[in-house]
Symmetry: C2
Subunit: 136 residues, 2 copies
DNA sequence: GATTATCCTATTAAATCTATAGGGTAATAG
DNA sequence: CTATTACCCTATAGATTTAATAGGATAATC
């Protein structure tokens, strides 16, 4: 399952991408429009700012805004930040590789063999989509 | 993340597929060979029996065995039974469709748009693999 | 009839996810 | 300069899911 964190994060990014002239939008405004708990959204936006997707402005007229153009925001990067590793098992992860403690040898593991294919096909979709591509 | 349940289930199925003449194997034997908690594995095998993947035999010389040939066991079916819906969000699920309560319209949802692609590519992998294909 | 091994329900323990609380900090307007 | 606005940040609580364990019932075999 996709976490609410990722879901809300994607919705917020899309919402911001649709603003004219990339004007800052307040947390409260996004939360209301997208039916998201405001405080929860706040922490998600904070993460997205710290990881270089969003900029913020304090005080009246402030809010969050995209730092890059939608076509330059890769889903691969967004998903890794919000959802974590793209692979379903650590032993096939490119960026978060880890050996399974119960598995003596990856080369003779059927789970590894199947999940490697899933990772590749999933990665292909994320690599083929930017924020601009998923706007509707 | 892939659940341990699915991981163990796949390993058990693979293990059984490699037995000569499809002889029954005891839970304890599989658990030991694959480093799985025996009681936990027990409940997984029970599920796989109830869903038509395995047969069982009680008493001495008993155990679990495959009911169909590995090449006739589709990963799509195995994954749905062990891991649940293949889609990452209910609103793009073929077999477990559900509308999101927070989303007014799927047609204008960027999460839906992205996850639809993920579902399709994931499904393609599972449909292209039988138990026989992931044996090593 | 003793032994073996699956069958089944209930419960607990651990981990993760989701959301909330509450105050701090910086920018802006007037 | 001061009140207001809105983001900043940490901690924590509640809910859900996952993983594992306990303990005995049932059925088949030797």
């Amino acid at each position: 399952m996709l976490s609410k964190k990722t879901k809300y994060g994607l919705k917020a990014l899309s919402f911001l991408a649709l603003q004219k002239e990339n004007a800052p939008v307040q947390i409260a405004e996004i939360a209301k429009q997208e039916n998201i708990s405001q405080k929860f959204l706040e922490s998600i936006l904070l993460t997205l700012r710290k990881t270089g997707f969003l900029g913020s402005k304090k005080g009246k007229g402030g809010g969050y805004y995209l730092i890059k153009e939608p076509k330059d925001i890769l889903m691969t990067d967004v998903m890794r930040v919000l959802e974590g590793p793209i692979a379903m098992v650590p032993c096939v992860s490119l960026n978060f590789y880890e050996k399974c403690d119960d598995c003596p040898d990856e080369k003779t593991c059927s789970v590894n063999k199947l999940m490697l294919q899933i990772r590749d096909s999933t990665l292909q979709v994320y690599r083929n989509n930017t924020l601009a591509d998923i706007l509707v």
